[in-house]
């Protein structure tokens, strides 16, 4: 399937919770090596969109393709078996807002758990790779610590390394810095920026406008469940096309000026 330089293709995805339409007809594509930042006010459906991509949330309508392969629905047009869905999910790494590390495992075990248990890769190989990833996020000395003993920033760096240990085609970030103290945000953004530079394909839901502006290859602006605007970050931040995006950015600029960020 060489024609798919698109790693992710989201086509017309809709989702409602009861009477509330959380996503309506959202479409976007992510090319290999791209860093797409999803921005938008709270409640605009950003996290739901991310969770629909790996089917943690089942979309009501629309299609999602990972490297040309349909996620969640099999060739016969029916919902995939859990096994097939698991297989696809192993190719999509996810980083959670509240880290979601496994509390009963050490840092190194957290990294090795899914590759060994789910992907069934040889333990020695996984271990070497996990140690290299820990070195990369600057946490080699914490390999035998339990998550409860780490700071928020360290936990999130472990979370990123854990997702990378799966060798995913695509990495999803669900507000990775929102639960962190302001002084710890930087260390996580550094890791993410490095990944972007290395050409990891990523979709990042974030409120870090500075990061989006500088590290994103493209920005997707959601408002009330609709993909209102998409484009290069320079253009989006300097000269947004829609009134909604302009208001949104103004509010953020105001917050920054008032020192509230």
């Amino acid at each position: 399937m060489a024609e798919f330089s698109k790693v992710l293709d989201v086509a017309g995805v809709s989702k409602r919770f009861g009477d509330v339409e959380v996503l309506s007809d959202v479409s976007f594509q992510v090319d290999k090596g791209e860093t797409v930042c999803v921005l938008g006010p709270s409640g605009s459906g950003k996290s739901t969109l991310l969770r629909c991509i790996n089917w943690l949330e089942r979309p009501d309508a629309g299609q999602i393709y990972l490297n040309g392969e349909r996620v969640g629905i099999n060739g016969a047009g029916i919902i995939m078996s859990d096994r097939d869905l698991s297989q696809i999910r192993t190719r999509i790494g996810m980083v959670f807002q509240h880290f979601a590390l496994w509390p009963h495992l050490t840092v190194l075990q957290n990294l090795m758990e899914a590759p060994v248990q789910v992907q069934r890769r040889p333990k020695a190989e996984v271990r070497d790779e996990a140690l290299a990833l820990l070195a990369k996020v600057g946490l080699s000395e914490k390999r035998d610590a339990f998550p409860a003993r780490l700071s928020g920033g360290q936990k999130q760096r472990v979370g990123i390394a854990r997702a990378l240990a799966m060798r995913p085609d695509l990495l999803l970030f669900d507000e990775p810095t929102s639960a962190l103290d302001p002084e710890l945000v930087g260390e996580v953004l550094v890791v993410m920026r490095d990944l972007a530079r290395e050409g990891m394909t990523m979709v990042i839901v974030t409120h870090e406008m500075g990061f989006a502006r500088e590290a994103a290859t493209r920005v997707l602006f959601l408002d009330r469940g609709r993909a209102v605007e998409t484009g290069a970050p320079d253009r989006f931040f300097a000269n947004p096309e829609t009134e909604r995006a302009r208001q949104f950015l103004q509010r953020y600029a105001g917050d920054t000026a008032a020192g509230r960020r």
Binding site: L56, R83, Q87, R89, F99, A100, W102, A148
Partner: protein, 129 residues
């Protein structure tokens, strides 16, 4: 044992249910397990059960000690256990005290073993808290 422990079993399952509901509802690590491709069985075995057992350890230990105590204090004993053995020794040899004191110490020893088990689970859990 079932004669003496219906209450304990109900309590135990109740405790476990409370633990699982209270501790695991919206437990992000489980969601992470799903997102990382764990099958349902493996998710339960590798991700859900270990923390659950660690946090329920003291409850299970207390229940076990309670069960042992209950069975010790009840006079109608259907199973050939310690008090029964002690009373038969007593009736044969006419040394009531020695036999029952031995039984008491054996019970105590049993409880100590369980306590030691519980506290070692507790230490493992503490390191992860």
């Amino acid at each position: 044992m079932s004669v003496y422990t219906p209450v304990s079993e109900v309590q135990l399952s109740d405790w476990l249910r409370n633990y699982s509901v209270g501790r695991l509802a919206g437990f992000e690590p489980i969601e992470a397990g799903i997102a990382f491709g764990f099958s349902e069985i493996r998710l339960f075995r590798r991700i859900i059960l270990p923390p659950l057992l660690l946090s329920a350890g003291p409850v299970i230990g207390n229940q076990m000690i309670q069960i042992i105590k209950d069975s010790a204090f009840l006079t109608i004993i259907a199973l050939p256990e310690l008090t029964h053995a002690a009373s038969s020794i007593q009736s044969r040899h006419y040394v009531p005290f020695a036999a029952f004191i031995t039984a008491v110490f054996l019970y105590w020893g049993l409880c100590l073993v369980i306590e030691a088990g519980v506290s070692s689970i507790g230490r493992v859990a503490e390191a992860r808290r």
